[in-house]
Symmetry: C2
Subunit: 345 residues, 2 copies
DNA sequence: CTGAAAGCGCTTACAG
DNA sequence: CTGAAAGCGCTTACAG
């Protein structure tokens, strides 16, 4: 491996001068600068990031916190790879690399904060923390910038889908198709992550807006975000009532389970029940009918989170919370129903 | 941030002694060792990995090559996050961290090799390279260990699903259900990655084994691995012939597209056509019927790849190619048909 | 515009 | 069993 000392020896300049030329810092003459750059190129010089990081105390590394935890029996972040990929595109062209932040340091168990100090990461992206994890909350005191994707954390700048508004739009859509009896199966509302609560609020707001009485009999909660949870919740719902023509599911995975329960009862989607999900999971394209859903803009979430981090690196002020609109993805699981008024004609 | 100098000052030992105690190297007395370790703990010492990496020339970093490229219109690695998660679990408890290897170095465009030298990664995992990418092939000359998951690369140790055998098993299964006319829609066979070719070979081998004549009219190739490709290929197949009762799809995503084409023709799965896929994608659980498929053991692929890398770090010899068996995942898209013989009874 | 000196925090021979 | 010296490859004041 060739170093700046090699370039210094060959060009006749001193190592600090080589360093300045390579980094574009310090006022060198254009001539020496191009000379040095050329030599570096000819020699196939690659900087040693460990040395650079040691002296500058900046690693050009961004730590990612992503736990593939199964505490909640199968909970997984469905949008993870999309968000991460889009985040990565932005930070890479800015010269940063992505590092998974673990809680191991050799065989020792450590916090994310310790690991961040160990690697001297310049910033952190929080993706899929264990809900309420103290090791994550502690990150707010990290002396370098953090952002969170889709998961509000006190003291950390967050980019998140506009859950409440999008849920309201989902129900608006069902109403526009003529539905008046709309059930809701929500995700776990007791978690620190507010997605399930916000979507539920959006549901209620939409009903109210359209003058539909809120009926708690039409709402069922799944303690988990997975399809089995959706299935069980739908069964509980059916046990109580069959008095609805549409159902809004708090996410797509729940919707898949709900669909099973509906079919098990001999009912058809969308003929008997219109079903709308949330996320825009690709899987929903392959069910029959394909699942209509509120699509989370993972590209925007990922790239905005990255841009925020870069802005923070540049010392700019950024808002604490950024909401990204979702979009309706009309596929085949909802249908227009005759309203009572039309019936009467 | 506290350093070994701080610990040295406080305990009265020299920095090298502190280093030896911390690393468990060098013959220190048990007393000083515990004394130093205790002091380190009390002070909340975290080593600076940049300094350590600079002096040892080892970073305890493993580079991951994963390109989310869309060259082939929508090609994505469906098993990516599963394999990566399982890989990560193993290498993290061994004290390594995962770094995404990009082809950027600041604003400069570089090869993976250069980036690896820049970060001094101790090893590399190749996950989803652009097929035939010279920057990947070049990695075989990297002076540190590399492994590849699911993609054979000359000179690099690879862990891959036993495609040929698993494809044969898929067709065996169809035969066991009484099918004798079995179509095959294969993925792109012209790529450097041999998966489509190997699965096609398995298909032929199974036919031969069961004394079924190979009929090229029953085989159609999709130029891409995505569902649109499967859809189009199935339409071409139907245009030519309807003379089959079962179909083996080279992967699940193709199968989803095939399913659409089948239904579009007014045929039902599995009543008219039994369909089997390959991958074990979770999405297949949510279609109706759920997709029967050959499941790739992503946990095994990821963890084996990690173990191989660790073995290489330890200087052990490892095989160049490791094949992981797939498993049949019986869901609902295949059914038993009456054989001619049974008919006669 | 360029360079000599010192430092970033650790480890590796080597000596005693 | 412990420490003084030198080095890993770079950068940052500072001086000229």
């Amino acid at each position: 491996m060739i170093t700046i000392y090699d370039i210094a020896r060959i060009t006749g300049f001193s190592p600090p001068t080589i360093s300045k030329a390579l980094n574009g810092t310090g006022g060198l003459s254009a001539a020496t600068r191009t000379l040095i750059l050329q030599a570096a190129k000819d020699l196939g010089y690659t900087p040693n990031m460990n040395a650079r990081a040691l002296s500058t105390n900046r690693s050009h590394l961004i730590g990612v916190i992503y736990e593939d935890h199964y505490m909640l029996k199968g909970f997984k972040h469905p949008l993870f790879s999309d968000i991460l990929n889009n985040f990565r595109k932005v930070i890479e062209i800015a010269g940063y690399d992505l590092l998974f932040l673990s809680r191991n340091l050799g065989s020792r168990r450590v916090s994310y904060l310790e690991h961040s100090n160990y690697r001297k990461v310049d910033g952190i992206l929080v993706m899929n923390p264990v809900p309420g994890d103290p090791d994550v909350l502690e990150l707010a005191s990290f002396d370098r910038p953090c952002v969170s994707a889709n998961e509000p954390i006190p003291g950390i700048c967050t980019v998140v889908t506009e859950n409440r508004v999008a849920a309201e739009a989902a129900v608006d859509y069902l109403v526009s198709l003529g539905h008046r009896s709309i059930a809701h199966i929500c995700g776990p509302r007791n978690l620190s992550a507010p997605a399930a609560r916000e979507r539920f609020e959006g549901y209620r707001a939409a009903l109210e807006k359209h003058g539909i009485r809120y009926d708690e009999n039409l709402v069922e909660e799944s303690p988990f975000w997975h399809s089995e949870g959706g299935y069980e919740a739908a069964r509980r719902l059916f046990y109580r009532t069959r008095d609805f023509t549409a159902l809004f599911a708090s996410n797509d995975t729940l919707a898949f389970g709900i669909k099973e329960a509906v079919e098990e009862r001999g009912l058809s989607i969308p003929d008997d029940i219109s079903l709308i999900g949330f996320d825009g999971d690709e899987s929903g394209m392959y069910t029959s009918p394909a699942l209509t859903t509120m699509w989370q803009n993972t590209e925007e979430i990922g790239s905005r989170a990255a841009m925020l981090l870069l802005q923070k690196f540049a010392g700019e002020d950024v808002p604490e919370l950024i909401k990204i609109p979702a979009r309706l993805l009309e596929r085949g699981s909802c249908r227009k129903v005759a309203t009572k008024f039309e019936h009467g004609l």
